[in-house]
C-alpha cells in the first residue's frame, strides 16, 4: 500500500477531479450522492496521501532527492513540458494536510449547506478546488503548477461568487479574480524569464541550475525574476498591497472561506515561495523583500483586525496576518518554520472558520460580533472549539500555534533582524488581543435576547472536534525538544537549534497579556473600546476603514487613471481623430461613395464577379505557358 501510494500519488488530485466530473455529468440531481462522491474522493485521497506521507517520512533518501516521475505533456523545438509528480517531505506533508482538512471541511459542508440551492454544484466546485490545490502541491513543474494555480483561482472565483444572486458576492468574486490576475501576470512573466534563461521549468532542474546561476545570467536579472515570481504569491497569499480581495472573499459560503484560508488557496502562495526558496536564497535583496513584506503584512493586517466587527472579516485579517508570518519565516530563510506554521495554521484556522460558520448558521447569518454574546452556553462545542483555536493562534503552549510562532520569532531574532522581530512580536500580541476580543464578545458576556442559537448537528461538530484536537496536538511534532519536523521539512542542512527560552517566555507573556487585556476590555468593562475609540478617534477610524486601502485604490483609479485618460481623450479627439482618422476617413469616404455603386449587396452579384476574376486568372495562366500553368491544373502530368 505504501509503495502503491507513493508511485500513484497522482491519484490524489485525480480522484477529486473525477468526483467533480462525476457530479457535474452524472449525479447532480441526487444531492446526497453528490456529496458522498465528493467526500469519498477526498477521503480516498487522504488515505493515499497518508500512506504516501508515511512512505516519504520513513525513507531517508527523499529529503535531498525527491521522488519524481512524469509524462511528456507537449513538446516543441526548444520547449519540452512534462506533467509530473514531485514527492518530497514538503509536498507529502501538504498532501496529507490538504486532504485531511478538505475532507473535514467537506463533511462539515454537508451539514452547513443543507437545503441550499446548488448543493451538488457546490460539492463539484469543492472537489475541483481540492483537485487543483492537490495538483499544485504535487506538481514537479512550474507550468503544471501554474495551471493548478489558475485552477485554484477559478474555483475560488466560482465559490466566492457561489451566492451569485447577491451583488456583493459577484463583486467579491470578480475582485478576487482580478486581483489575483494582476499578481499572476507577474508570476507568468517570471516563469517566462525562467524558461528563457534556464530552459526548463522543472523545479528540481531549476534548483540545480540556479545553484550555479552565474553560468546563465547575472544576479540583478535573477533578482528581478525572483521579484516577479514573488508577485504571484503576493496576490494569492494576500500580502500587503494586494490583500484587498481576501476580506471580501468572505462573501462565499463559510466552508469555502475555511478551505481558502486554511488549506488551499492562500497557502498556495507560501508554498510556491517555499518551493522556489532556492532562488530567493540566491538573491538576498529578493529574500529581504519577502521578509519585509511578510512582517509588514502581519502587523498591518493585525492592526486592522483590532477594530473590525464582522466575525469572518476578523478571521480573514488574522489569516492575512498569519500568512505574513509565514512569508517572514521564508524571508529569513527557513522553510521549516514557514511550513510548520502553515501546518498548524491550517488546523486552527480551519477550526475557527468552521466554528464561525457554525455560529453564523445558528444566528441566521448575523455576522456582527457586537450583536452576539454568551453563545457558549447554547453552543458549548462550538464555543469550546473556537476557544481552542483562539488559544492556538494566540500562542499559548501547548497549543499548536505556540510552537510554530515561537520558531518563527526565534529564527527572526537569531537571523539578525531585530526590527522584524519587534514587528512580529507586536503582531503576536495584537493577534492574541483581537482574537480574544472576538471570542469574549461572541461567546461570553451577556446573552442577547433576540438570538436563539442552537448547537449545530454532529455532522458539523465532529469535524470541529477533530480539528480542535489537531490544533491541540498538531504542534507537538515540531517542539524544540522533539525536532521531528525540522529533520524532514527543511531546505539545506538540518541543524537543531537549542530552545530559546527568552523568546518562548516573551511570546507566552505577550499572548497572555493580549488575552488579559481583551478580557479586561470586553468582559469586565465593555465600554472600554468605546472610550478608547473616542480618545484615539483618527487612529480608530483609520483602522476601522482598513487604512483606506480600497479607497486609495479607488482614488488612484479616479484621479490618476481617469485624469490620464482624460488627457489621452483630448489627444485622441483632436490629434488622432481630427487629423488622422477623420482626415483619412474623409478621403476614404469620398472614395468609397464613388465606389459604392459597385456594392450591390447581392450575394450572387459578388459571386459572379468573383468567378469572372477566377476565369481571368485561369485564362492568363493558361495562356502564359506551361510553367505557371502547372499552378492551375496541378502537377499531374
Amino acid at each position: 500500500m505504501v509503495e502503491f501510494s507513493m508511485t500513484h500519488a497522482w491519484l490524489v488530485p485525480l480522484l477529486p477531479f473525477l468526483a467533480f466530473a462525476v457530479i457535474v455529468f452524472l449525479t447532480r440531481p441526487w444531492k446526497m450522492l453528490s456529496a458522498l462522491v465528493s467526500v469519498g474522493a477526498m477521503a480516498a485521497g487522504f488515505v493515499i496521501s497518508a500512506y504516501a506521507a508515511y512512505g516519504v517520512f520513513t525513507s531517508h533518501s527523499l529529503i535531498e532527492k525527491s521522488l519524481e516521475y512524469s509524462v511528456r505533456w507537449f513538446s516543441m523545438p526548444g520547449l519540452n513540458i512534462d506533467v509530473g509528480v514531485k514527492l518530497d517531505p514538503t509536498s507529502a506533508m501538504m498532501l496529507f494536510m490538504v486532504t485531511l482538512v478538505a475532507s473535514l471541511i467537506q463533511i462539515y459542508s454537508i451539514g452547513y449547506m443543507r437545503g441550499e440551492k446548488g448543493f451538488s454544484t457546490f460539492f463539484a466546485y469543492m472537489s475541483l478546488f481540492g483537485a487543483s490545490m492537490l495538483l499544485l502541491v504535487i506538481s514537479s513543474n512550474l507550468l503544471e503548477m501554474f495551471v493548478a494555480w489558475e485552477g485554484v483561482g477559478l474555483c475560488s472565483y466560482l465559490l466566492i461568487g457561489f451566492y451569485n444572486h447577491k451583488i456583493s458576492a459577484r463583486e467579491a468574486a470578480k475582485k478576487a479574480f482580478v486581483t489575483c490576475r494582476i499578481a499572476d501576470f507577474g508570476l507568468l512573466l517570471g516563469m517566462l524569464a525562467l524558461q528563457i534563461i534556464f530552459g526548463t521549468l522543472n523545479i528540481t532542474e531549476l534548483g540545480e541550475k540556479i545553484a550555479n546561476f552565474e553560468l546563465y545570467t547575472n544576479a540583478a536579472t535573477l533578482t528581478l525574476v525572483a521579484v516577479l515570481v514573488f508577485l504571484g504569491p503576493i496576490g494569492k497569499s494576500g500580502q500587503f498591497p494586494l490583500h484587498v480581495w481576501l476580506p471580501d472573499a468572505m462573501e462565499g459560503p463559510t466552508p469555502v472561506s475555511a478551505l481558502i484560508h486554511a488549506a488551499t488557496m492562500v497557502v498556495a502562495g507560501v508554498y510556491l515561495v517555499g518551493r522556489m526558496l532556492f532562488m530567493f536564497l540566491e538573491v538576498p535583496e529578493a529574500q529581504q523583500l519577502v521578509a519585509v513584506t511578510g512582517a509588514f503584512t502581519a502587523l498591518f493586517a493585525a492592526s486592522i483586525a483590532l477594530t473590525q466587527r464582522e466575525i469572518k472579516r476578523i478571521l480573514a485579517y488574522s489569516t492575512i496576518s498569519q500568512l505574513g508570518y509565514m512569508m517572514l519565516a521564508l524571508g529569513v530563510g527557513s522553510l521549516t518554520a514557514s511550513m510548520f506554521h502553515l501546518w498548524t495554521h491550517a488546523f486552527f484556522k480551519a477550526l475557527m472558520f468552521l466554528a464561525a460558520g457554525s455560529v453564523l448558521t445558528a444566528l441566521h447569518h448575523k455576522a456582527d460580533i457586537w450583536e452576539m454574546g454568551g453563545l457558549i452556553k447554547k453552543m458549548p462545542v462550538t464555543g469550546a472549539t473556537f476557544a481552542v483555536g483562539g488559544l492556538a493562534i494566540a500562542g499559548i503552549p501547548p497549543f499548536a500555534g505556540f510552537w510554530s510562532k515561537d520558531e518563527i520569532l526565534s529564527l527572526t531574532l537569531s537571523g539578525g533582524h531585530p526590527v522584524l522581530f519587534f514587528m512580529a512580536a507586536l503582531t503576536a500580541f495584537l493577534t492574541a488581543f483581537y482574537m480574544w476580543r472576538l471570542i469574549f464578545l461572541a461567546f461570553f458576556g451577556k446573552e442577547k435576547p433576540e438570538n436563539h442559537p442552537q448547537e449545530s448537528p454532529p455532522v458539523m461538530t465532529v469535524p470541529l472536534l477533530i480539528l480542535a484536537f489537531l490544533s491541540l496536538v498538531g504542534g507537538l511534532v515540531g517542539t524544540p525538544w522533539f525536532p521531528f519536523w525540522g529533520e524532514w521539512i527543511r531546505f539545506g542542512e538540518f541543524h537543531h537549534a537549542a530552545p530559546d527560552y527568552t523568546v518562548m517566555i516573551l511570546s507566552v507573556i505577550l499572548g497572555v497579556i493580549g488575552i488579559g487585556l481583551a478580557y479586561k476590555m470586553y468582559v469586565k468593562d465593555v465600554s472600554a473600546e468605546q472610550r478608547l475609540a473616542e480618545r484615539f478617534r483618527p487612529v480608530y477610524t483609520l483602522l476601522y476603514n482598513k487604512y483606506y486601502i480600497d479607497e486609495i485604490y479607488m482614488w488612484f483609479n479616479h484621479t490618476l487613471v481617469d485624469g490620464a485618460a482624460k488627457a489621452m481623450y483630448l489627444f485622441d479627439i483632436y490629434v488622432v481623430d481630427g487629423i488622422f482618422i477623420n482626415g483619412i476617413g474623409a478621403i476614404t469616404r469620398d472614395t468609397g461613395s464613388a465606389l459604392r455603386v459597385f456594392q450591390t449587396g447581392r450575394l450572387q452579384n459578388y459571386a459572379l464577379v468573383f468567378f469572372l476574376g477566377v476565369l481571368a486568372v485561369a485564362v492568363i495562366l493558361a495562356i502564359t505557358g506551361p510553367a505557371p500553368a502547372g499552378l492551375v491544373w496541378g502537377g499531374v502530368r
Partner: protein
Amino acid sequence: MDNIFSIAAFYLLGLVILGSAILVVMLKNLVHCVLWLAVTFIAVAGLYMLLDADFLAMVQILVYAGAVCIMMVFAVMLTQRKDMKSSSLFNAQFRSAGLVAFLTAALSAYLAMRTAWTSTVMPVPPRTAEAIATLMLTKYVVPFEVAALLLLVALIGAIILAKEVKADD
C-alpha cells in the same frame, strides 16, 4: 473501360446527369427542381458504380438522394408561402451568369482535354468498403474525427439557428 456496356452506361448516365441538372436549374417549380435533383444524384451514384466505387455510390444515394433532398424538401415546405408554380425564377443577372458559367465550364473542359493524363491500368480492388474503412480508421483517422466533429457542430449550429428565439427573453 472498353466494354460496350461501360461506354453505353457512361453516355446514358452522362445524359441523365446533364439533362436532369439542366432541368433542376431551368424549371420554375421548386418542388420539381428538388425531384430532378434527386434524379441527378442517383445518376451520379450510377457513375460512381461505373467507376468501381460501389461503397461511395451507396453513400451518395443514402446521403444525397435520401437525406439532402429531404432536407431541401423541408426547407421548401417551411419557407414557401406563395404560389409554388413560380417559386424558382431567375434573377436579373442570368445572362451574364450564363456567360460566366459557360466560360468556366468550357475552360475547365478544355484544360481537361488538353492535358495528357497519365492513367494507370491497374483496376480498383474490390471490397472498397473494407479498404476505405481501414484507411479511415488508420491513416485518415484525424480527418475522420474532424469530419465527425464538423457534423456535430453543424447539427448543433443548425438547431440553434433554426430555433425560434423566445419572445420574452
